[in-house]
């Protein structure tokens, strides 16, 4: 019996799809059988992030409507065995599926996979309700900015009223240089405000744009710091105890001097 995770954020553009693709790929690299379900009907993107856009024949709605069997709609990843995509329909809308149908679909997927990761659409309307309906656990993605954190807080409340009271947090796109200057909320600030457990921190990394350009998740790139952060997150999901990477260690001469004079950050 597999576990069903929904990856959500409230606000758009904070990295839900990238996070889904990378955690899923990292879990598959660990030898797990993983399916990534794109719940963003009408605005699908998980296929392009994974580089599987040319292999789609059927989609989620075809399965629900009985136009094909589940097995026919699953797109197998080209690099990693055990990684599959169930694409969203692009020419339909969020009302083409109901929460109950989503629950049934998740039940079916859970029997066949170790992990089912659902990429939730932005917003709090029908698409969100569908995406969370069949999930056992929730991951909230945010970036350390006022609008994203505010929306994350709202989503945490809505998850609780949808039977998911203990979501875990991923802080995405942390700019270490800005944190050091005091111009970006740090990890502790963000956890302090949202009050949920931390699953991982992903530093801002140009490699994400490059890997998305190519359709190859950054976890496959050993030189990507964000890729490493996502690999760590996958290991934590598997129950391993991996500490959060130390982004803020004082290594520069100026930091050492500041500490000497007691002027550095606490």
């Amino acid at each position: 019996m597999g576990e069903v995770y929904v990856i959500t954020s409230g606000k758009g553009g904070v990295g839900k799809t990238t996070t889904t693709a990378n955690i899923g790929t990292a879990l598959a690299m660990e030898g797990k059988k993983v399916v990534l379900l794109d719940a963003d009907i009408g605005l699908r993107n998980l296929d392009v992030v994974l580089g599987l856009e040319n292999r789609i024949v059927y989609d989620l709605i075809d399965v629900v409507e009985g136009a094909c069997r589940l097995k026919q709609a699953l797109v197998k990843d080209k690099r990693f065995d055990g990684l599959f995509l169930l694409p969203a329909a692009q020419t339909r809308d969020k009302n083409a599926i109901s929460p109950k149908q989503m629950q049934e679909l998740c039940k079916e997927l859970r029997d066949q996979f170790d992990y089912v990761l659902i990429d939730c659409p932005a917003g709090i309307e029908q698409g969100f309700k569908n995406a969370v309906a069949g999930a056992d656990k929730a991951i909230v993605v945010t970036i350390p900015e006022v609008s994203a954190v505010r929306d994350a807080d709202r989503i945490i409340g809505l998850l609780a009223s949808n039977g998911l009271p203990y979501p875990e947090l991923i802080i995405n796109r942390l700019r270490i240089d800005m944190v050091k200057r005091g111009d970006m909320m740090n990890i502790d600030d963000t956890i302090d405000i949202l009050g949920i457990d931390l699953l991982g921190v992903v530093p801002d990394d140009e490699n994400i744009v490059v890997s998305t350009n190519k359709g190859e998740p950054a976890v496959a790139n050993d030189n990507s710091l964000a890729g490493k952060a996502y690999r760590n997150i996958a290991k934590r999901i598997e129950g391993q105890e991996i500490p959060i990477m130390d982004f803020e260690s004082d290594n520069s001469l100026i930091d050492k001097l500041k500490r000497l004079f007691g002027m550095g950050k606490k």
Partner: protein, 96 residues
């Protein structure tokens, strides 16, 4: 020496502290999760209760959820009602 100016300490007003403070305030309001119709319901019931004792102008009643700072300078929510009195009713007056 690019962050030379940091030696003179601008920590207090750093933009992340402003962000944090603003977020804390806005979230108190968000989390209270009150819709205007919810406040109207409270307003209606409050009017029902006090109308036996005082006369007031229905349109001047202001009921809202607001943020207050307590002694530990933490923020908490408070229900504040501002009801201008036109006249005390007889029942409310001190006899004698």
């Amino acid at each position: 020496m690019f962050d030379f100016f940091k030696f003179f300490g601008k920590e207090e007003s750093s933009s992340k502290n402003i962000a944090k403070e603003r977020l804390k305030l806005v979230l108190i309001h968000d989390r209270a999760n009150v819709s205007p119709s919810f406040l109207d319901m409270i307003k209606g019931d409050v009017m029902k209760v006090i109308s036996d004792y005082i006369e007031f102008d229905k349109d001047e009643i202001d009921i809202r959820i607001t943020k207050v700072r307590d002694e530990d300078s933490d923020f908490s929510s408070a229900l504040v009602a501002n009801i201008p009195i036109k006249r005390m009713k007889k029942i409310g007056k001190n006899p004698g």
